[in-house]
């Protein structure tokens, strides 16, 4: 399997992992009809940013985001990337906590949440410490293992659909575009890691677009499956709509009682891969920006994992987790805007300068 495809799988895994739990809920909060419009608008906004990002990165072959910012100056790298790493640490902690809540709710009711946290953090940190190549290779296996499960639960939920719930299909005004939650939704995107992973591999926009279409189809299904099963009025009251929707499906010939178990399991696999990528990015940023000779990347990974663990442990309740998670994804939106655009501008300026220099 070539590295390009592996990165493609990680791209999909990261998107799906982020969007299982909170994404549908946010969409339902934004509009009462024509949910697909929100998904598509959100998609278009993100693909534009991805386009800018890929274009910007193409100016700097064999370099990752950290190298590019270091080129701009040590101070710029420090100011931009260290807060980014910190917000990623918070995201990891909250993300794992939120998944732990879901796990406890659906199939480990008697187990204390800290012990689940320990397990998830241990595997995530171990994966991150083994480096990017290991993450990429294992993600391919996990992708092909989980995708059939995911497709199975999506297909199996068809039997509970009430197609009347799809209406009204059209929402005439686009006022949700001005809602700040619409931009919060973007916090649930995972294209930034591309810039850290592609220093050895050149990715084309066409390839990412292909992955993106796949992600969009899954997004639409995540939005519409709970909606079609429960209807607009009841779906807004659910805390984890997708999980609840899966829970409602009952197939006679399957030996398992709940379909949720499949969704829950696929969540874990994807979450571990996603968070280990983020941890790896943190380790890389810290090591390259701070340049402390004695501190290896694995030390940074362990340290930030411990911080994230403590954060996940001290959040008092689920409502707080969700609030913090929203704040955290809000902060990430800032980086998702500024990193691609600044790289593109810097690359353009630098490239133009070089052309002038060569001509003269």
């Amino acid at each position: 399997m070539s590295r390009k495809w592996q990165i493609g799988f990680v791209f999909i895994i990261m998107y799906l992992s982020l969007n299982h739990l909170m994404y549908p809920k946010l969409i339902y909060g934004l509009t009462e009809a024509g949910h697909w419009e929100v998904v598509v608008c959100q998609g278009l906004l993100q693909i534009t940013l991805i386009g800018i990002y890929i274009k910007g990165l193409s100016y700097f072959p064999q370099q990752d985001v950290i190298d590019i910012y270091s080129k701009m100056g040590k101070l710029v790298a420090f100011i931009l990337l260290i807060p980014f790493a910190l917000s990623l640490t918070a995201l990891i902690g909250l993300d794992i906590r939120i998944h732990t809540e879901a796990i406890n709710l659906f199939f480990l009711k008697r187990t204390p949440y800290w012990s689940v946290l320990v397990l998830l953090f241990f595997i995530t940190t171990y994966t991150a410490m083994n480096g990017l190549s290991t993450i990429l290779r294992s993600s391919t296996f996990i992708f092909f293992m989980i995708l059939p499960l995911l497709l199975f639960i999506i297909c199996s939920s068809f039997m509970n659909f009430d197609w009347h719930n799809v209406r009204p299909l059209w929402h005439p005004s686009l006022d949700f575009l001005l809602n700040k939650n619409f931009f919060h939704l973007m916090g649930y995107s995972a294209f930034l890691p591309l810039g850290f992973m592609t220093y050895k591999t050149k990715l084309t926009f066409g390839f990412i677009f292909l992955e993106w279409v796949f992600v969009m189809i899954i997004f639409l299904s995540f939005t519409y499956i709970p909606l079609l099963i429960f209807g607009e009025e009841s779906v807004v009251t659910l805390s984890f709509p997708m999980m609840e929707a899966m829970n409602s499906v009952d197939i006679k010939w399957v030996m398992f009682n709940q379909q949720t178990i499949f969704l829950g399991l696929s969540l874990i696999g994807f979450t571990i891969i996603k968070n280990s990528v983020l941890l790896w990015i943190i380790g890389r940023i810290m090591q390259k920006v701070l340049k402390w000779k004695r501190a290896k990347a694995s030390y940074w990974i362990t340290a930030s994992s411990v911080i994230a663990f403590i954060l996940a442990l001290i959040v008092p309740s689920r409502s707080w987790t969700e609030t913090f998670f929203l704040w955290c994804s809000g902060v990430l939106v800032y980086f998702m805007m500024i990193i691609p655009i600044s790289i593109l501008i810097y690359g353009y300026v630098l490239n133009r300068g070089r052309v002038h220099y060569e001509e003269s």
């Binding site: 199939f107 480990l108 689940v116 595997i123």
Partner: protein
Amino acid sequence: MGDLVSDIQNLFSVQGDFFIGKEVKDKTAIYIMGFSTLIDLPKSNLYVRQIAAASSSVKELFTNLSDKLDTDINQLKKAILDGKLVIISEGGKHNAIVDPVSRNLTRSVTEPQSESPLQGPIDAFVEDIDINIGLIRKRLTSERLCHCSYEVGDLGSRKVSMLYVKGSVPEDLIKKVDQQIKQIDADIETVDDFNRVFGRRRFNLVSHFFQTELPNQATHSLRTNRIVLFLDNYPYALVFPHLLWDMFSPSIDRDFPSLVAYGLRALRVFGVIVNVLLPALYVAIISINPEVLKIDLALFVSESRQGIPFPALLETIIMVGLVDLILEAIVRLPKSVGPTITMVGGIILGQAMVEAKLVSTLLVIVTTAIVISGSVVSGIPNSLYIRLLRYPILIIAAIYGILGVFAGFLFIIVYLASLTSNGIPYTAFRMNRKEDAK
């Protein structure tokens, strides 16, 4: 030079099997020496006498006997240790190293012991390194097949051979392996010692080599861009690097129609997954997550465990451990005792334990599935490490239920994906010719 004979005699004075014989030719005494345990003495003596009778002078005798003439004492010493016959004339004027009639210490090519090729050639590698390389050369008659030989070790030198097909294995990989073998300074006693040369971590489950007894498999590996290593006195070819896919697709499969071969491979992958996950799933479903099963199934499961005094984890570990003990015992025991153990073990595990209500009937079925599925992969070391993998998952499953089964499985995937030998990942599906597989 005059004391060459006595020097050598002193050197080997403590060796009971060192012999020194005296012959006279043209009034000059010549001394014949060597190890009687390595050399067939009467035949070798006869050979020397026949040559002596045909030669006109002492010098001619030496020239007729050998082309290794008049070497120094160190080489003579080494030749004696290697099982050669050393002949020295009186006064140490001439000496020669002669290839004697050796004692037959190697077995001839026989059937494989640890692999059973179904519908394939049934010759197997033996201890003698030259015969093994010959078996490969016979199958791969190409000038591109390269053979590098080394002698490594401190106490006893051991022959190591590296075979590869030129142009198919990446050049830098050959260079790296070549350097690594040349740098060996300790004795290579076992394959594990040899493994360490290639950077083996201490607590690593997976070897850098895929071991095979079949020349056909080794030749196939050579064709698919691998390096094959041989150790003297070790009847297995060591295929480097070892890839995960090796255990699922032995070259024998290729004799079947490809659809059948794919089916067999899928079966093996399924077997491994069952072997690793089934006991853990049993424990998870019994003790932590009974609610995931449909109600009648859950009732059936709990009914089958009625009256059993052990918790599910202990019950499973007892059963799985016993099965592993039986497997280990059968390997060690002579063939005449093996079936008895199997029978007694089978009766005790299958019937007596259930009737005594020590384990549930369901667990007996699970155990049977484990035993059968554990041996579907090719290569004994592979099936051993897969057997070992199920214990950690079992323990995590007892704590976290279904989540533990899945997390443990993920952990194993990540662990296997993190393994590399000389930069080539263990989980690569095949080795590319130009660049290392990612």
